[in-house]
Amino acid sequence: MNMNKEKEALYNSPSEFYNSKETIDGDIATINLGPTHPATHGIFQNILKVDGEKIISSEQTVGYIHRAFEKLAERRPYNQITPITDRLNYCSSPINNLGWHMTMEKLIQAEIPKRVDYMRVIIMELARIADHLICDSVIGVDTGALTSFFYPFQEREKIYELYEEICGARLTTNIGRIGGFERDFTPVFHTKLKSFLKTFPKAFNEWDSMLARNRIFMDRTRGTGPISPERALAYGLTGPNLRAAGVDYDVRVMHPYSSYEDFDFIIPVGVNGDTYDRWMVRQEEIRQSVRIIEQAYGNLPEGSYKADVPEFYLPDKADVYNNMEALIYHFKIVMGEMEVPAGEVYHSVEGGNGELGYYLISDGGRTPYRLQFRRPCFIYYQAYPEMITGQTISDAVITLSSMNVIAGELDA
C-alpha cells in the first residue's frame, strides 16, 4: 500500500518527492569522482557517498601531482625560482612570476620605476582576463554548452600572443626579471594591445550574452554549490569565490601593490555564493580588468623598464659581450652569487583565483632558507565537501569547475 502512495507522489511532483526523501530505498553507494576524469579538470579525487543522485558526504584526496616546490626552492638561486612559480596556477602564470619578483624587490628594497609598475599592472590584468576566460568557459562546458568553450579561446590566443611579444613564451611564461622587464614593450606589442583593447569588449559581450541571461544556464547554476559569507571566511576563501559570497576582499585594494591604488575600478560582489554568482563575478572582473588596462596603458609613464639593481637584474646581452662589469654581474647572477639581506618577507598579490602569497625567509645565503607559497586553492578547496553535500553529482562537477581549483597550484 505504502509503495503505491510513494509512486503516486513521485508521479505528481517528482522534485518534491526526491527532496522530501531522506534516502531512496536506503541504498548508499560509494563512487569515485576523479582522480583522472575529464570532468574534474585536473587530478582531484573525491570519494563520494551518494544516495541515488544526492551526495551525502565526500572525502578529498590531494597531492597527486606534488612536485616539492618548497623543497626545490631551498636549493635554487633567487632568479631561478621564477620558473617554479609558473607551474603553480598555470592559467595565469604572469601573476605568479611578477608576484615573486615583487617579493624579492621588497626583500632587497629596490626602488621600482613607475613605468615598471604600470607595465606589470597591464600584464597581470591580461593574465587575469585569460584565467577568468578559461574558468568561465569551462563552467559552460560542464553545463553542456561546448560553444562557450571554443568561443573565448580566440581572445585568449590574443592574450597569449601578447605574452609572447613580451617574453617569448605562452603558458609557462617566466615573464620579467627581479627589478623590471628584460625589454620595453615592443612596437608590435603596442599594436597588438591596441587592437585587443578595441576588439575584445565586443567579442566578450557577445560571448557573455550567450550565457549570462540564458534560461538553461541560469537554472543549472543558480543555487548550485552555494556558500555563506561566514563559512567562506572561515574556510579562507579568497578571490572571486569569496567575492561571490558577498565579501569584498581584494588584495589589490586592501594591501595595494604595484601602484594599484592609482586606478579606478570596482570590486564586484555576489549575493548567494553559488556557481552563477561566481561566474558573474568573474565576468564583471574581466570588464574591470579591461578598464584597468585602459587606464594603465593610457597613462603609461615615461621612464625605464627596469630598476637600478645591477646585482639582481641580468645585464643586457650586448653589454655582457663588450663590457667587463656587465660580464661580472652576469656571471654572479647566473651562478647565484647575489648578496641578499637576511630577513622575512610576506608579500601577496591578487592571483587569478585568490590571494597568492609568498612567505620568504632569507638567511643571507644564495638560496631562500624557506619559501612558502600561500596557494589560494589549497586553502579554499577544503570548503568543497561542505558546498556539495546535499547536491547532485552533476552539481558537484560544475561547483568544482566554478571554484577554479588548479591542480598544479593545489599540490605545489
Partner: protein, 167 residues
C-alpha cells in the same frame, strides 16, 4: 587603519607578559609568543572588536636545526581587514616535543595548513580533528622539509653540494 607601532602598543596592552619579542620586519609586525598560549592569543585577537583579526592568511613551519630547543617555528599570518594590517605570530617548539595546540576550532581553514606542516616537518597539532599526511604518500616515514634531508641524491658523486647552494 592601524600602523605597526600602534598595533604593537595595543598588543602589549592586551598580552603584556606573553610577548616574548617583537620586531617590525619589512612592514610586518612579528611577535613571538609562548607556545602554550598561542590558541588563546589567536582566539582573543579574533574576538577583539578593535583588532578583529578575522582572517587567517597562512600557517607554516620552519626548521632551524642549529638552535637548541627551538628547532621548529610555527608561523601564523593573520589579517585584520578592519585595520588593513597584517600580523605575524611565531611560536618555537623543541625537537623533543614538537607540538602546539591546533587552531582548527577558530579557523576551519587551518585544517589543511596544519596537516601540511605536519606532513613536511612533523609538527604535531594537539586537538586537530584529522592529523594525517596531505601531499605526500601515507607510508612515508620521514618529514621531507626538515633540513637534514639533502636536496640531491646522496649517492651521486659528480655533484658536490657545496657548489650548488646550501650544504
Amino acid at each position: 587603519m592601524l600602523n605597526n607601532e600602534a598595533l604593537l602598543t595595543q598588543l602589549e596592552g592586551l598580552f603584556s607578559s606573553n610577548i616574548l619579542s617583537a620586531e617590525i620586519n619589512f612592514d610586518l609586525l612579528t611577535v613571538e609568543v609562548p607556545t602554550s598560549k598561542i590558541h588563546d592569543i589567536i582566539a582573543q585577537l579574533q574576538k577583539d572588536e578593535n583588532l578583529s583579526f578575522g582572517f587567517l592568511t597562512l600557517i607554516g613551519a620552519v626548521h632551524y636545526p642549529d638552535s637548541t630547543d627551538r628547532e621548529f617555528a610555527v608561523v601564523y599570518h593573520l589579517d585584520s581587514w578592519k585595520n588593513k594590517v597584517r600580523l605575524r605570530l611565531k611560536v618555537f617548539l623543541p625537537l623533543s616535543n614538537p607540538s602546539v595546540d591546533s587552531i582548527t576550532d577558530l579557523f576551519p581553514c587551518a585544517n589543511w595548513m596544519e596537516r601540511e606542516s605536519y606532513d613536511f616537518f612533523g609538527v604535531i597539532f594537539n586537538n586537530h580533528p584529522d592529523l594525517r599526511r596531505i601531499l605526500n604518500e601515507d607510508s612515508m616515514d620521514y618529514f621531507p622539509l626538515r633540513k637534514e634531508y639533502a636536496l640531491e641524491d646522496g649517492t651521486r658523486e659528480d655533484k658536490d653540494d657545496r657548489f650548488f647552494g646550501r650544504v
